[in-house]
């Protein structure tokens, strides 16, 4: 314990000021990731369902959107939206500018569009993997397309898609570190500030690396709990 305390005794880096800086970075990261995932999921759910439509005028545009956002780096998307929206003629006079002039919102838009594209693909995959027999059974019961989707396809797609979605959530947490590039002080941004202030790369970056690691483990644990819960019926009888 003595040795442990002496570790903290002569450190000038982790003082209340820097710890508060890290804390506000932590809050920003959580806000960004949580909001992008929730909004992204709300957008992706209808897109994922429509992507399985047989009408090319519906599924092709969605395919193009997904292909673009999955095939290009998030950093490029962020630059496009961050620098791009500012250059649209006349936007600086509209009410949108109040939102877009802050770095947080262009960044949120880029993250939402990115995660929505990946999630759309996950939902499409999960819907298309529905066993044919389940759909035939639903048809035999006289369910219409809506009821089939709501009662049969989506609940079982949720179970199939969850492991991939868990990966997407973790990916989004890690990708959110890019926000620090456009002047947002998230966890990584806070570490960069503290590195610049004290010229202490190990303390600054290892500390946030440890926080990200804990967050990742917490997410993995949570999703495992959810999976165990909704997959309970597939567990062997012990």
């Amino acid at each position: 314990m003595e040795a442990f305390l002496s570790l903290f005794a002569d450190n000038s880096i982790f003082n209340p000021v820097t710890l508060m800086h890290y804390w506000s970075g932590f809050v920003t990261t959580i806000q960004l990731v949580f909001l992008s995932l929730v909004i992204g999921l709300i957008i992706a759910l209808p897109l994922g369902i429509l992507r399985t439509s047989k009408n090319p005028f519906i599924n092709k545009p969605i395919w193009a959107y997904v292909y673009f956002f999955r095939g290009t780096p998030l950093l490029v998307q962020l630059y496009l939206i961050y620098y791009g929206t500012a250059q649209i003629k006349g936007i600086q006079e509209t009410i949108f500018w109040n939102i877009l002039s802050e770095a947080f919102y262009p960044c949120l838009i880029a993250f939402v569009l990115n995660t929505a594209a990946y999630t759309t693909e996950i939902i499409r995959g999960a819907i298309e993997a529905t066993p044919k027999g389940e759909i035939e059974a639903a048809k035999a019961y006289g369910m219409n397309a809506w009821k089939r989707m709501l009662r049969i396809v989506l609940p079982s797609a949720l179970r199939r898609g969850l492991p991939a979605y868990a990966n997407e959530v973790i990916f989004m947490l890690h990708a959110s570190s890019i926000a620090s590039v456009v002047t947002i002080v998230d966890l990584t941004g806070a570490a960069r500030d503290i590195y610049a202030r004290y010229y202490a790369p190990f303390e600054a970056f290892l500390f946030v690396a440890a926080i990200y690691l804990c967050l990742t483990f917490a997410l993995i644990y949570t999703f495992r709990q959810i999976e165990n819960k909704i997959m309970a019926h597939t567990r062997p009888i012990s």
């Binding site: 950093l75 490029v76 947490l173 570490a191 990200y212």
Partner: protein, 233 residues
């Protein structure tokens, strides 16, 4: 026609740099991944634990944080090392961690962890009976690895390797943050200079889509090659 205000050639050079970073990192990642996968199957707990810590920690931390850590921290370590050399032996050497090395090493190091998981899964899907047959023929451990498990493992590993490669190609964009003049950095600087972000960033996005499409085509051919001799329905 697209007017790049004379920045075209330099952005094209940036694109070549992107490909160089990606290919070199791939080499490092493949070597580390293979070593990691072999260590994970080792009977000796020491390499097994080291490999498990490596894959778990690396996959739990954002790429950008690791890159900043290696770029800034690596330089500091090297400075300490050269100070030490000077004090001990009066050697005056300066090691410079440039952006290129830091970028390639970091990306290779990160994706080595993902590759290790891919290879581990692939090794496990090679039929055990085949390895036993190899031993029964009197092959050594080395021979079984080179002649039996490696070629068959590649078939199972290819889809995963392909995915890792596509993710890695996009991750190379991060090297622009530590100052390497890849196509993202050159394009964003040009965009800021001329105030036309779409003119420069859309072609860069299309370049990534093109690289992705080419990679997918090559991967498909490789998959055909490595699944020769497997019956397909």
């Amino acid at each position: 026609m697209l007017d790049l205000h004379g920045y075209g050639p330099s952005i094209f050079e940036g694109a070549i740099l992107t490909v160089q970073v990606a290919v070199l990192s791939l080499l490092i990642a493949l070597i580390l991944g293979l070593a990691g996968a072999i260590a994970k199957q080792s009977a000796n707990p020491v390499p097994r634990i080291i490999a498990t810590i490596y894959t778990t920690v690396i996959r739990g931390v954002p790429d950008l944080v690791l890159m900043l850590l290696i770029f800034f921290g690596g330089q500091m370590l090297m400075n300490m090392f050269s100070d030490w050399l000077y004090d001990q032996f009066a050697w005056d050497i300066f090691f410079n961690i440039n952006e290129f090395i830091a970028g390639v090493v970091t990306i290779g190091f990160i994706f080595g962890a993902y590759m290790a998981e891919t290879f581990r899964g692939a090794f496990q899907s090679v039929n055990r009976g085949q390895l036993e047959a190899g031993y029964a023929y009197g092959m050594s451990k080395r021979q079984v690895f080179i002649k039996i498990s490696f070629p068959q493992m590649m078939r199972h590993a290819l889809p995963g390797l392909g995915n890792n490669w596509l993710v890695m190609l996009k991750t190379t964009a991060l090297v622009s943050i530590i100052g390497l003049a890849d196509m993202v950095r050159l394009a964003s600087e040009a965009a800021k200079a001329v105030h036309e972000p779409f003119t420069f960033l859309i072609p860069v996005a299309l370049a990534y889509l093109f690289l992705t499409a080419v990679s997918e085509w090559i991967l498909k051919r490789l998959e055909v090659k490595y699944s020769a001799g497997v019956a397909r329905g």
